[in-house]
Amino acid sequence: MSSEGAIFDLDYRRYEGERTGRSKIRWAMVRDGVRKVLGLRRRARRKVLPWGLIILAVLPAVAIVGFRVFTEGLGADELLEDLIPGHADYFQLTFQLTFLFIALSAPELLIPDRVSNVLTVYASRPLTLADYLVARVGALMLVVFAFTLLPQVIIYLGGAILSGQFVDHVTGNLDLLWKIPSGSVAVFATQAGIAFIISAFARRRGLAAGIYIGFTIISAGVAVALAENVNRWFAVINLQAHAIVLIGKIFNEPEISQDTALVEQHISPWVSLLVVIAIATAAAGLLYRRYRRLM
């Protein structure tokens, strides 16, 4: 080894390689969004809430599988079937966690970019406003899907393994492969639109999350009161109930939505589907309109 050192001034090196297309740029934005939502490459305190909620959402699924392992062979399978939540029940069980997760994540994706003027950097790059918004919404969708799907997958695979007939269990429950993702879509589509709209106007993340949570809780109460005393159609204002109704319909388990104002007022699940589509469409339009002035 030579004892003489050498200093190289590498200076500026032009990039002469191939450039990626817009799809790769969009994917880079999605990855950035996922990191933001999960607090990755950020300080530890930014990880506490998202990961805390993820753990809370997954823990019951692990407990369910563990409980089934523990009670296997006790001969109480039928009794346990009634006690242990199924896939539709699990959506309902984790619904409020997903709601909180979306309430915290949507502001994280939109507000810092706008308030810290990072939008200027996006606007100077070869991408469109639609690319930016699709990537931001896509990032939240990806994480919410993971958030809702992971415990369902644990229950599904746990059930398959514990059945002792893995292949038969999987082939016998193939419908779950579309039902579970559809449930996730219903949860996301119902909740994310309003959260994004509030985040598009609010300047502080905490405030946006608070407004969204408050709006959802108050609208649910108002919906019940107005539906009972003025007109049954006011029940459609209860946004969260639409997701529960749709999940009940998807899994063909209408009993999980029995307590909602929508069912009590005999409003068809198809109305819920229309309301969810209308909310998602209106939110997309409003978001685009708002950001067209900014970028």
Binding site: L10, D11, Y12, R13, R14, Y15, E16, G17, E18, R19, T20, G21, R22, K24, I25, A28, M29, D32, R41, R42, R43, R46, P112, D113, S116, N117, V118, T120, V121, Y122, A123, S124, R125, P126, L127, T128, M295
Partner: protein, 303 residues
């Protein structure tokens, strides 16, 4: 001009009743271009139009022969932009953000990481690159902004007031960095209201005032002057009168005479007149026109 990298014709931009740009016609070659004007002159508006971020009320603009209005993405893939204000997420490290900016400019992820490190070293942030941008001082933020503007290897960089808010040392470093960009084969548009900064770094000047184009020519042409500046001892009036009698255009202030002659050798004439009038000479030389002189003269002419 056949090799213009930026061109504009009849460019107009109005924000409500405010006319930010008025009938701007431009042809700008590659190199280091200074965009000069007072605050509100229309510099930032012109930059944003060139990037396709703003749609002009009238006229057309092209960068590298591509319409900024009709093909903004094609323009942006060859251009870097350093905005005047802050543009950073405070909770992200400089390395992460600049690497991300490179990916947004079309570089593959692995290459982006490598280049971010190199460019941050180039702008003097090697040690601080893993610190969060929210902890950066104004000078460090300006450097990081420059890094994100050049990380994807653009052919042209648009710098909007890159030296604003910097202390003298920071300003010096920033001007040196801008000078170096030219050496790396990048053209630079450098907007500033500090005329001295433009004189130090640029070889072409675009001068705007209240949205109108005042000058668009090489700095050397602006600075070129036929005038001779004479500083005399004692009363300058006899010499001034003598020069005027011989057909020279003379501007006298205190003991300084600016002498312009359309034909003949001004130095010889001045020598003769000073000798005839017995006026003592302190110094004599070609007058250096500064951008400030030109700017003030243009402003005075327009009002």
């Amino acid at each position: 001009m056949t090799d213009a990298i930026i061109s504009a014709a009849g460019l107009n931009m109005a924000f409500g009743p405010v006319q930010a740009l008025q009938d701007v016609d431009l042809q700008v070659p590659a190199g280091r271009i200074g965009l000069v004007g007072a605050n509100g002159a229309g510099k930032s508006t012109l930059i944003k139009i060139l990037l396709g971020m703003l749609k002009p009320s009238g006229g057309v603009s092209e960068v590298f022969g591509t319409s900024a209005q009709h093909h903004p993405l094609a323009v942006r893939s060859r251009v870097g932009y350093m905005p005047e204000g802050d543009c950073f997420p405070p909770d992200q490290s400089a390395a992460d953000f600049v690497s991300y900016a490179a990916e947004l400019g079309g570089l593959p992820a692995t290459e982006s990481r490598q280049r971010a490190s190199e460019v941050l070293t180039l702008v003097g942030l090697a040690e601080e690159r893993f610190r969060n941008l929210g902890e950066f001082s104004t000078g460090m933020k300006q450097r990081a902004k420059l890094a994100q503007a050049i990380v994807h290897s653009p052919e042209l960089v648009l710098l909007d007031e890159p030296a604003s808010g910097l202390d003298p040392d920071g300003r010096e470093d920033m001007l040196n960095l801008i000078n170096r960009l030219g050496e790396f084969g990048m053209s630079v548009v450098f907007s500033s209201h500090v005329l001295g900064d433009i004189e130090r770094t640029c070889d072409w000047v675009v001068m705007l005032n209240e949205g109108r184009l005042l000058r668009n020519e090489p700095l050397a042409a602006i600075r070129a002057s036929n005038a001779v500046q004479v500083v005399v001892l004692g009363d300058p009036n006899p010499a001034a009168e003598g020069l005027r009698a011989r057909g020279a255009l003379v501007t006298a202030s205190d003991r300084v005479l600016d002498v312009e002659l359309s034909e003949g050798d001004a130095f010889v004439m001045i020598r003769d007149v000073l000798a005839e009038t017995g006026t003592g000479l302190r110094s004599m030389g070609a007058k250096q026109t500064t951008l400030e002189d030109v700017y003030l003269a243009e402003e005075e002419f327009r009002t």
